[in-house]
């Protein structure tokens, strides 16, 4: 209200930590920082780090922070808004995405979406963090033995504490996928077990026509990067992978190629949230 009134009166307005700040126009960011937040050593103007001698002009949004200080929800939102362009950020932050399985695919998809500022995540896994997971999954050595749901929620909170994270610590079945994930904008299948991969796609095609879907099949080993593809199999339903490279002795799951597939999945989620649904 205050902001709109100031603009209507024709005064040049600069926002410092989202407060209209008369008299800041023409000042250098270092001068504004010294006046309004002594000790501030990170200054962000319009979403990007600003040098101390940058001069503020009308319409600038200036954020003053101290190094090491956790940014507020408003600052995080502003940074992501500026970085991702407004249309992208609005769509991403109002979306909720379900992730089934929190291994090499699921933990990486969750991290990518949390960094993007996704509104909400519903994370499902029944397992605990084991030493063999650390070659590709987003967990730490001091988290061995913790449920993956709990460990991943803690790690996401260290990246972006403003994502609403809900957890399902249970082994999912075909029958309970539809009721648990009916409210999602997009559902991401990141299971290890091919029986559950088939079950999840079947359940979604039969009972969740309104939910976008991104599954995965075939990303073990160190085969060709570009054999990993994103295939559209139905409107708003995609499968990522090379369809062939099964996890087995002699062809293990490793961070690089599983990461390629996971980030195909995460980008496909973003595309679906932005309304892109094209035949390849």
């Amino acid at each position: 209200m205050l902001r709109r009134a100031a603009e209507q009166w024709g005064h040049p307005v600069i926002y410092v930590n989202e407060q209209p700040t008369p008299g800041a126009e023409g000042l250098r960011v270092a001068e504004v920082a010294a006046r309004l937040k002594p000790g501030a050593d990170i200054v962000v103007v319009n979403g990007f780090p600003a040098p101390p001698d940058q001069v503020l002009v009308a319409g600038d949004h200036c954020w003053l922070m101290r190094r090491g200080e956790v940014p507020s929800a408003a600052i995080m939102d502003h940074l992501l808004h500026a970085r991702h362009t407004p249309g992208v950020h609005e769509a991403v932050r109002r979306a909720t995405v379900g992730i089934m399985g929190l291994g090499g695919l699921g933990s990486a998809v969750a991290v990518a979406l949390a960094r993007m500022g996704i509104g909400g995540l519903l994370l499902a896994d029944y397992d605990v963090v084991e030493p063999s997971n650390l070659n590709r999954q987003h967990y730490f050595i001091d988290q061995l033995g913790l449920p993956k749901t709990v460990a991943l929620a803690a790690n996401l909170a260290r990246i972006n504490p403003y994502v609403a994270v809900d957890l399902i610590e249970a082994r999912l079945t075909e029958a309970d996928i539809p009721p648990r994930f009916a409210g999602m904008d997009v559902l991401v299948e990141c299971f290890d077990d091919p029986v559950m991969k088939a079950a999840a796609l079947r359940a979604t095609l039969r009972e969740l026509p309104q939910v976008g879907y991104v599954g995965a099949s075939g990303m073990a080993g160190y085969g060709d990067n570009n054999a990993i593809r994103t295939q559209r199999i139905r409107p708003r339903v995609y499968i990522v992978g090379d369809n062939e490279s099964e996890a087995r002795p002699g062809q293990g799951l490793m961070a690089p190629r599983v990461g390629i597939a996971a980030h195909h999945q995460a980008n496909q989620v973003i595309r679906l949230l932005l309304g892109v649904d094209e035949e390849a």
Partner: protein
């Protein structure tokens, strides 16, 4: 002789078989396959009891493990 379309390709069957029998003859594990018959996604329990009629259009999506 029965003719079906499976994943876009015409296929001749000597005798009537179920969806599950066809999967096995193709070397697929039915537990890892999603089947759409004439535009309808089948429940897992239907694979063994759904017979393929002449002119059937079948889509099979097979999964491999790893994630």
């Amino acid at each position: 002789m029965i003719t079906i379309i499976c994943n876009g390709e015409s296929r001749q069957l000597d005798q009537q078989v179920s969806v599950e029998q066809l999967m096995i003859s193709l070397g697929l594990n039915p537990e890892r396959v999603v089947a759409e018959l004439n535009g309808r996604i089948l429940n897992r329990s239907e694979y063994a009891v759904t017979m393929l009629a002449n002119g059937a259009i079948l889509e099979l999506i097979r999964f491999v493990g790893g994630g």
